[in-house]
């Protein structure tokens, strides 16, 4: 179990998609086999920066996600490392068959960067707000799923996916700027979840933008005399079972927090592990089987109970032994 003892400031803010776009250019300079494909969203996904520097290695596929994923498969079979980017909703829901049958089944080396990965994209509404992208990817064998918690982790995760993993990787990044949690020397290892704060009373296991909220919730709980363990579960698949079991045996209850439906995502993954190994009271923070809607990110987080207050409340509830219900 790795842990961070240093104080996390959460002062600077950067969006994970910007971080992704910057790292992509770095990787392009370093690895000439990296090619990038986008489906008419390069200005939003930030692949436009790569396109500007490497026009010959950038392919705008137009609004055709299925063809884009298939083309990436072909490129990966001829010594290229294709990085495919579009909104999470389109990457997973429109091109599911292509990802399942043509990329994951033969375990091809295609990296899928799914941007705009949650309801906090806001005003565009439910059609553009993915709630099930992680579930969809989780059920596919051979798939690795990473949900970085901040801009630094988005960069390290992408670098890791390109340089250390041979096979399909799905990385979710968000649209809005979010606080930076990690320092520049952050080391990313997808095999291990990261304990950001040790604690014995209750554990909050979070991913993506919810990690920062979990940290803040942890501080609030501390003020009330509750010592919470905070975990950044950046890799949803393969999930760090060992860490989850270890924590479950130590604490009185677990709260999971994700900007995603509680059906099939991080909360489900944790529930599966603890119920088979070390049952403990659990509450899942996430969308409770509802579609999103238009609104500002802040309004939506409140509407769908994805705030630090919701995490605090859930932590107190699990400590009293109340589980989750749909």
């Amino acid at each position: 179990m790795r842990s961070k003892s240093k104080q996390i400031s959460l002062q600077k803010i950067i969006s994970t998609r910007d971080a992704f776009g910057e790292e992509l250019v770095e990787l392009g300079r370093k690895h000439k086999e990296v090619v990038v494909l986008d489906a008419d969203l390069s200005k939003a996904t930030k692949t436009c920066w790569f396109a500007k520097e490497f026009p010959d290695r950038f392919f705008d596929m137009g609004i055709s996600e299925q063809d884009m994923l298939g083309t990436a498969a072909g490129l990966s079979l001829c010594d290229k490392i294709p990085i495919v980017s579009t909104f999470a909703i389109f990457a997973t829901a429109k091109a599911f068959d292509q990802i399942r049958n043509t990329i994951a089944y033969p375990r091809l080396n295609v990296k899928i960067i799914a941007t705009h990965g949650g309801i906090t994209i806001g005003a565009d509404g439910a059609s553009h707000q993915p709630i099930e992208h992680i579930t969809l990817m989780r059920v596919i064998p051979n798939m690795t799923i990473i949900v970085p918690a901040d801009g630094i982790e988005a960069k390290t995760a992408l670098k890791y996916a390109v340089e250390k993993v041979r096979g399909p990787v799905f990385i979710v990044v968000g649209r809005d700027p979010t606080p930076v949690i990690f320092s520049d020397d952050h080391q990313f290892d997808f095999r291990h979840g990261e304990v950001l704060k040790e604690g014995k009373d209750v554990a909050i296991i979070a991913a993506g933008i919810m990690v920062e909220k979990a940290l803040r919730a942890g501080e609030k709980l501390g003020e009330r005399g509750i010592n919470a363990c905070i975990v950044n579960m950046h890799t949803i698949k393969p999930i760090d079972k060992e860490l989850i079991i270890k924590i479950a045996r130590k604490v009185g209850g677990i709260v999971t927090a994700e900007e995603h439906t509680i059906i099939g995502g991080l909360g489900s993954a944790v529930a599966e592990v603890i119920s088979e190994n070390s049952p403990v009271s659990l509450k899942r923070i996430g969308l409770r089987d509802r579609f999103g809607q238009s609104g500002s990110a802040e309004e939506l987080l409140r509407e769908y109970h994805l705030t630090e207050e919701d995490i605090v409340k859930a932590a107190e509830e699990v400590m009293r032994g109340k589980g989750s219900s749909l």
Binding site: Q66, D67, T71, A72, G74, L75, C78, N101, T102
Partner: protein, 282 residues
């Protein structure tokens, strides 16, 4: 010139014999497996035999040779055809064909590239192959390789939207190293293509998408050769060979019978089919 014509005639005689062997393998393996897709395997035998035994540069001793031409069976249900030409080419032993569709076999119901050498990409879900071929062709241009990519499409498969997304891509990126072959046998599972979901005017559709279109009799080796020669010379645009074929070609009771799209012959039918195919050889 005379000798060229003579040589070509000899090659065609040789290829016809090989195609016949490929057909016999298909009938035997599907009968043994008790399931599979004979109709659409048999219809494309001549074109695919020409590719593997004459047109394509490939090396069964070294299936991963970087400069090889690539063949993608986008209509993955014709797996018995692919397996049969790969075995006859020497990628693996012909006797392994009889393991088709059995537990643990490298010859899965639809092609699995991770199991079987020579399979360029796993296929089965229709509509995927041309996109993959385009990706290989783009990589070929980026890597300054001279290889060509051949993609076999089914006629019913052209009802899949992804085929047309990929058609746009190949022409947009000027992929003259891509050749599609459309096995136009006119039948799909639910009946004649024109009744289920008409794809015509199919040549005009491909032309409108920016492709160079050649229509041939897909069972005439001379026409097959000529069409492959012509597409090789294209500059700046992809080519498609629309091969008019007969579903179940070579076995009288399977020809143009919808039912044999996805049904294995009974043992007695296999005997009858092999007898007909052997008579062809004489």
């Amino acid at each position: 010139m005379e000798t060229n014509v003579k040589q070509r005639e000899d090659i065609i005689i040789e290829l016809k014999l090989t195609a016949n062997k490929v057909r016999k393998n298909i009938v035997k393996m599907i009968t043994e497996a008790k399931s599979g897709h004979p109709g659409g395997s048999l219809s494309a035998v001549d074109v695919v035999t020409a590719l593997y035994f004459n047109v394509m540069r490939h090396n069964p001793e070294n299936p991963k040779w970087k400069d090889r031409d690539r063949f993608i069976l986008s209509k993955g249900h014709a797996a018995p055809l692919l397996y049969s030409v790969l075995a006859e080419s020497g990628y693996f032993e012909v006797k392994e064909l009889l393991t088709l569709r059995k537990l643990g076999s490298r010859l899965q119901g639809h092609p699995d590239m991770k199991r079987l050498p020579g399979v360029e990409i796993s296929t089965g879900s229709l509509g995927h192959g041309l996109s993959v071929g385009n990706g290989m062709a783009i990589a070929g241009k980026l890597n300054k390789k001279g290889y060509r990519v051949y993609v076999l499409l089914g006629d019913g498969e052209c009802q899949e939207g992804q085929v047309w997304e990929a058609a746009m891509t190949a022409s947009h990126y000027k992929l003259d190293n891509v050749t599609a072959i459309l096995d136009y046998n006119g039948l799909q599972i639910d009946g004649p293509v024109k009744d289920v979901m008409n794809i015509n005017p199919i040549s005009n559709k491909w032309r409108a998408f920016g492709w160079y279109v050649i229509e041939i009799n897909g069972h005439d080796f001379k026409e097959i050769f000529d069409s492959f020669e012509r597409v090789k010379k294209l500059k700046g645009k992809p080519g498609i060979i629309i091969a008019h074929t007969t579903k179940g070609k070579g076995v009288s009771f399977m020809e143009n019978v919808v039912d044999f799209h996805g049904k294995a012959p009974a043992k007695e039918q296999m005997v009858q089919a092999l007898k007909e195919l052997e008579e062809n050889e004489e």
